[in-house]
């Protein structure tokens, strides 16, 4: 098909893929800062490793696919995938974990499906799930903010720890790590400890959810709202995800507060906020119509709750996103908006 070189519109907006992607990264900055505050430099090291890996993989594949390298490398999409995954990984993860996850995300989940705009699954989540299934132990050893405050690790020590697993002062990594709040809840429930017991007795829980986590989530919420304000995303998906998770959690919580965690814990402890604003809104893999986005978000919320509560994993967000990615094209097919001047069907 040949397109006439110059036909209207002649005026173009200033938006670009790079700008969109960069804005999402900016919106993550407060949360990254909070992460450093509570969990140390690990997240920064993760990001450095992830970004390097992502850009190298992207360049390599573009070269193999004989695509122009620079425009795609600068579009920011690989960068964003890397940052998202790096933030989702436990700080002090061994370097190879990050490299594997990001490599898989970029090479398999993104480029094998055709690259930018064509991947049906969210690359960062594919990378995350692959790691979660293959390396469950590494993926669940989160640092504890409490313990960490006793042994503050400086940047250099963090790098050493990431690269060869060596901690200063004969420290063992195991001594620093601890399960995530949702993880803790799950295992305590198995031990027949009620929720209120766990939450009040366990040092990991704070005001709204997990200690530290609540602040990070607050920062994520801030960034997410800024994205809506900047019209990078619309409110539909975040509202539907959080609304659904909170609503279902509230129902069960009212039914039995001792076996079902409160909506606050569900919202502020796991990946709910990060996922709702930053992962589920990934345009490429989400539903594109406004009403479709509501359904899509609600689906993610529902699946997340189900997996968290009855499934084998403490947090089901990544799985929920991938499952709904599969449904998104179908939703778009059936959820056509009413066209101007047409009657609502």
């Amino acid at each position: 098909m040949t397109i006439a070189p110059s036909s209207s519109p002649f005026a173009h907006g200033t938006s670009s893929v790079t700008k969109v992607m960069l804005r999402v990264i900016y919106a993550l900055l407060p949360a990254i800062a909070a992460c450093v505050w509570f969990f140390g430099w690990g997240v920064i090291v993760n990001i450095l490793i992830a970004v390097t890996t992502a850009l190298l993989c992207e360049a390599l594949i573009l070269k193999l696919r004989q695509r122009p390298i620079m425009p795609y490398l600068l579009d920011g999409s690989a960068l964003l995938t890397a940052v998202l995954l790096a933030v989702a990984l436990p700080p002090l993860s061994p370097w190879w974990l990050t490299v594997l996850g990001v490599g898989f995300a970029i090479i398999i989940a993104k480029h094998l499906y055709g690259g930018l705009g064509y991947n049906p699954f969210n690359p960062a989540m594919v990378g995350y799930v692959v790691l979660l299934i293959s390396f469950p132990r590494e993926m669940s050893s989160w640092l504890s903010p409490q313990i960490l405050s006793d042994y503050s690790l400086n940047f250099a020590a963090t790098i050493t720890a990431t690269l060869n697993g060596q901690l200063p002062n004969e420290l063992q990594l195991d001594a620093l790590t601890m399960a995530t709040p949702l993880d803790t809840l799950k295992s305590q429930l198995r031990l027949d400890h009620s929720i209120s017991e766990t939450v009040s007795s366990h040092p990991i829980f704070g005001l709204l959810g997990g200690k530290g986590w609540e602040w990070i989530n607050g920062a994520l919420l801030l960034g997410g709202l800024w994205l809506i304000y900047k019209r990078v995303i619309t409110w539909h998906i975040p509202a539907a995800v959080i609304g659904t998770v909170a609503a279902i959690a509230a129902l069960f919580y009212l039914y039995d507060a001792e076996t079902y965690a409160s909506p606050l814990i569900h919202t502020f402890s796991g990946a709910t906020i990060m996922g709702a604003f930053f992962i589920a809104t990934d345009p490429v893999t989400a539903s594109a119509t406004l009403r479709g986005r509501l359904l899509y978000g609600a689906g993610i919320g529902l699946l997340t709750y189900i997996i968290r509560t009855w499934g084998g994993y403490p947090d089901g967000f990544a799985f929920a996103v991938l499952l709904m990615n599969m449904v998104a094209p179908t939703i778009d097919h059936y959820y056509q908006p009413r066209v101007f001047g047409h009657k609502r069907k």
């Binding site: 209207s8 519109p9 907006g13 795609y72 490429v284 119509t289 056509q336 908006p337 001047g341």
Partner: protein, 525 residues
Amino acid sequence: MKRRRLWKFHGGVHLPQQKTISTTMPVHAAQLPKRLVLPLHQHIGASAKAVVEVGDNVLKGELIAHASGYVSAPIHAPSSGTVVAIADHPIPHPSGLHAPCIVIETDGEERWVEARPYDDYLHMDPSHLRNLVREAGIVGLGGAGFPSYIKLNPGADKVIDTLILNGAECEPFITCDDMLMREQPEQIVEGLHILQHALRAKRCIIALEDNKPEAYTALSAAVAKSERCNIIEIVQIPTIFPAGGEKQLIKVLTGKEVPHDGLPLHIGLVIQNVATCAAIHRAINLGQPLISRYVTITGGGVSQPRNLEVLIGTPIQELLEQCGALDIEPQRLIMGGPMMGIAVHTSSAPIIKTSNCVIAATDDDLPSPQPVMPCIRCGACADACPALLLPQQLYWYARAKNLERIQEINLFDCIECGCCSHVCPSHIPLVQYFRFAKTEIWSQEREKERADLARQRHDSRLERIEREKAERAARLQKKKQALKERSAGDSSKKAAIAAAVKRAQEKKARQQTKEPSANEEDSSQ
């Protein structure tokens, strides 16, 4: 006066206005060009037919081409002079086509044709008014170029609730309607009276975007002076592109949506552009056909961007020179606005009835588009689409050439406003794909029609052959029948002869053997 409730339409984009650059100077008549080039096709519908020949002398306002059909418009000589050619000439058209034009060499005398005797329109029958509008060659001056008299012909059973004058002028750069409203508000209000009378409209609204306060003041003063000011309302609407689109403006003013397969008329509305309205005033009250219009000449390519009153047929080049065309080669020459205008391939192309603006655009005005990236399905296009379409899906099917599905998701409701392309972060020329798909579908339909016609012809030919064969067979059959009958007749004669012969022989035999025969009789007993 109470503030009128306004509605919103979905989507749209806020654009840098770039209008003030061309509103600093008052409007003057452009210099009379040496040559006027008048395309026979300057409107929607059938081309006009030339009624002059090369060598004819024409007077200003004289009919030089008449309308050929219901949807068509006549053309008049914009100035006196001599017809020097009726031939193909570049016209402002997206394809860069050459098309038949009447070329007049002006004599500089501006001699008018004899004016039509003046008559008060209030005593005129609406049908007579319509005819005058038609004869004046008036078409929609807002850009579409639809013959205006048709909109004045709503049919006896239709009640026109509101007549809307569109002065929104929502595209950046264009200011010709703005300047007309500022400088000639009386003409517009006069025209409005005529339209209201012809349509028997209950109410009138003049709508303009709120970025034209001067025009609003001027119009308000003019309306206040008119005797029917109680039914005329001037409404300022928020500035957002494409608020001046017919359907969008109606939505903003009334909250109603024009049905996708209908006209404003079907919901009791008629909408005309303000410049068209002023032209109608000049046609009815002054007896002048449509031979000139306000045109904005703007962009970084001219040193004095401004509005001029331009004779239809004036080559663009002359206007650029009068506005101080700069030496720098403008990157593009655009007729109309930057969102929905067309690229003009040569400055020798003329101003036509629908030309509201010429932009000599430099790279600063309208930077060339950035490289196209893949669609990231961000939905920005859908958020911006005033027709509530899903441009990204349309694009998908246009690329896949799935012409069936693309019609199912309402390609033909796309008004080609360009909002989707404008906001796309991947810089995909979406509208170009939609135009391509539309053209493709039209050509397929034509192809199909042609094929159908051919098949019909083929079928009827076969049928004819069949029929002829059948007829021939029938004739043959008849002949055979006739022959048979004749031969059947022959054989009965023969039989009769044979029978007679037989009888004779028998008689003879009986006479010879009387006894035996009697014996036979006996024996038979």
